[in-house]
């Protein structure tokens, strides 16, 4: 990188650089559209630190990523930095020692420092095998070769297991692929062991090995390579001259595929797919063509829209919330949904329906408000470039997809975007879309009932209090990692931490499942209480936003009071840690009788004395205690 002579030079360079930067929405678009030309220009300028000062880059987070392996990985660095930045995350990328993967993993090196949140292992099978095997195809494609492959993968897994003890980072490991043809040519298939088979064996072994190591997953490089094409992905000149194994184009694609991992770690996973209707869910304009003429169905172009709807429904079944944002007459749309039975998506799949003539940015705001999520949880899919431009320009936080020109390509594109992907996935997560859609019906009831109290009693709410268990740990970790609003401390504990605490007698990890007459909410709340000297302390207290305002919050406090008494103490300590998103829990503790005892920067320290006051269960809630 450039060596600047003095501080003034640095200041001037930074200012110039900052002015050249695109806005977050523009950057997201560059990655969205495969705008490699523009990406290349960006990649040549590496320093992204002044971003936090820019107004069009709100809520910037940061992450440290370590990459280590056997080849030249410096090329990856700028790509990763820009890719994470497109999601508002400034990354510091550390590249391990060239060709020293095992040294990096085994000694106390920079890549296993506590601040590293992603540790990415880059290796190819050749790197791991002894030369006499990798350079001799007769040996490689024999039983001896298979033994050598298995032994090599076991050593790799062993090294990863040892670094697991030193770092809490998410460990990503690339899978294996053949990057050249079989030396046996057309005779390959008549050999006992085929060339491609070697890589499958290696991948199976790696998969099984990583399954024994927490918070470690395979990065599917082989699949990316297949999609992209080996001839575009590899430039032998770069490989021969610099041991750089991929082209910049493929590094760019890899960096895009890396984004979902970072979003998942940083609680920046998207939650809501906001869909346009005309020329998005069907071909044509219902207001002009009529409900019977729009293209949707099992034949011709209509099939493309049907398959796109099916992809959206698949996301819904994995827990993605669906919403409609369209410029139409509501009656036209209702009629179409009723009469066109081919429609895969039905009104009951949508948690919010904004079909009107106001601008789409305003509709996005109302959708976010109605289903009670942050604007940055929304993804807009609209076929109209003008609408996309408008929403992108007015609402920086909304992620606006640039769909491929041809609707036939949409379904794959939607799934491959990984916008809604999460590393933790539980049964509850899968029904989220459905539960938000049920909420729309609850709201309709609430509007019909005059006062809050009778609405709450009409719900017939039951809260099930569950101690931590093997079954609910995934959901607890998922809630800890993605709840932003009603979250007292926003501590993102890992699965390992929860497992460690679950068996300790000085911790009470509890989760809360709720149901009412409209259906089940699943597990929506988590509390973590620890015993300290003479008191208990609330480590975490959170409630999913769709369960807020129904009294479950107070229920959690009354359970905490009970647990505190079981510990044989009378005092509860709690800290409110302010974040940009958790204003909704700001007054929760004082409103329930907690006394403010100290303020420390943005932290507010509270106490509750159970010998003076009680924390009571709301009248309309029935509680059900589940034993361990």
């Amino acid at each position: 990188m450039t060596n600047h002579k003095n501080v003034e030079d640095v200041a001037v360079a930074l200012t110039q650089f900052t002015q050249k930067l695109p806005s977050r929405a523009q950057l997201a678009r560059i990655f969205e559209t495969d705008d490699l030309q523009r990406a290349r220009q960006l990649v040549s300028s590496w320093n992204a630190s002044p971003l936090a000062e820019r107004k069009d880059w709100p809520d910037t987070q940061s992450i440290t990523i370590a990459v280590c392996g056997f080849s030249t990985l410096e090329y990856l660095k700028p790509h990763l930095m820009w890719a994470t930045l497109a999601d508002g995350i400034v990354s510091d990328v550390i590249i391990g020692q060239y060709n020293q993967l095992y040294q990096d993993l085994s000694v106390q090196s920079r890549v296993s420092q506590p601040d590293v949140e992603v540790l990415w292992v880059w290796e190819q099978l050749n790197d791991l095998l002894p030369l006499e095997v990798s350079k001799n195809a007769d040996i490689l494609l024999s039983d001896r070769g298979i033994d050598a492959v298995n032994a090599a993968i076991d050593s790799l897994v062993h090294a990863i297991a040892s670094v697991r003890n030193k770092t809490g980072a998410l460990i990503l490991v690339n899978d294996f692929f053949s990057d050249r043809p079989s030396p046996f040519g057309i005779a390959d298939s008549s050999r006992e062991v085929h060339f491609e088979q070697i890589f499958r064996i290696a991948n199976d072994r790696l998969q099984k090995g990583l399954a024994t190591i927490t918070h470690s997953v395979i990065f599917p490089l082989a699949g990316l390579l297949r999609d992209f094409g080996l001839e575009r992905a590899v430039d032998r000149r770069l490989e021969l001259l610099a041991d750089c194994r991929f082209t910049p184009e493929f590094f760019f694609r890899i960096s895009r595929a890396f984004r979902p991992y970072v979003r998942s770690l940083k609680a920046a996973v998207k939650k809501v797919l906001v869909l346009d209707l005309d020329n998005t869910l069907w071909g044509g304009v219902v207001g002009e063509d009529g409900w019977d003429k729009v293209k949707i169905g099992s034949e011709g172009a209509g099939k493309a829209y049907l398959i796109f709807q099916t992809a959206a429904l698949e996301l819904y079944n994995r827990g993605v919330i669906l919403a409609i944002n369209s410029k139409n007459n509501l009656d036209d749309v209702k009629e179409l949904f009723e009469r066109r039975q081919e429609m895969v998506l039905k009104p009951e799949h949508f948690a919010s329906i904004r079909t009107n003539w106001q601008d789409k940015a305003k509709n996005c705001l109302e959708i976010a408000e109605e289903i009670n999520v942050g604007l940055d949880s929304l993804v807009l899919w609209d076929d109209n470039p003008a609408e996309r431009l408008f929403v992108r320009g007015s609402l920086n936080q909304v992620y606006v997809v640039e769909p491929p020109d041809d609707p036939a390509d949409w379904a794959d594109y939607l799934i491959r975007s990984g916008l809604f992907d999460s590393l933790q996935f539980s049964v509850e997560d899968a029904t989220r879309g459905q539960m938000y859609a049920q909420d729309r019906l609850r709201r309709q009831t609430a509007a019909a009932v005059q006062d809050m109290e009778s609405f709450l009693s009409s719900l017939e709410l039951e809260v099930e209090v569950q101690p931590v268990s093997e079954q609910n740990i995934p959901r607890i970790v998922s809630l800890l990692s993605r709840t932003n609003q009603f979250n007292l401390t926003t501590k993102r504990h890992t699965e390992q931490t929860i497992r460690d605490w679950a068996v300790r007698s000085d911790f009470r990890i509890t989760c809360y499942a709720a149901k009412d007459r409209f259906g089940s909410y699943g597990i929506v709340g988590v509390t973590i209480l620890t015993r300290t000297t003479g008191a208990t302390e609330i480590d975490s207290l959170l409630l999913s936003c769709r369960a807020m305002g129904k009294g479950i919050e107070k229920t959690m406090l009354s359970v905490i009071a009970g647990q505190t008494k079981q510990f044989g103490v009378k005092k509860i300590k709690a800290v409110y840690k302010k974040t940009k998103k958790n204003a909704s829990i700001k007054d929760f503790l004082p409103d329930n009788g907690f006394m403010l005892i100290a303020e420390d920067g943005d932290d507010k320290h509270f106490e509750f004395d159970l010998s003076q006051k009680e924390l009571v269960l709301p009248k309309h809630i029935t509680i059900k205690q589940v034993d361990k």
Binding site: T2, N3, R40, R236, L241, A242, C244
Partner: protein
Amino acid sequence: MAETKQRVIRVLAEVLNRSLESLTEANSFIKIPDWDSLYHLNVILGLEKEFSIKFDINEVMEITSVDSAVALIENKI
């Protein structure tokens, strides 16, 4: 010739993220501060894109200066 030279220098400036003025005197790449093999390959890829040409591995090694790049490019276009 002069136009090709200007375009080569512009690619250099873009890849290195430096101003054009700081590079006009640069002839031998090795004299550019912080020059390394990654910059070298980035410049090669940049030139290939700019002129829509391709260098084979021998030519990649021959390009060690603005002048040698210009000569090779002129030969190809």
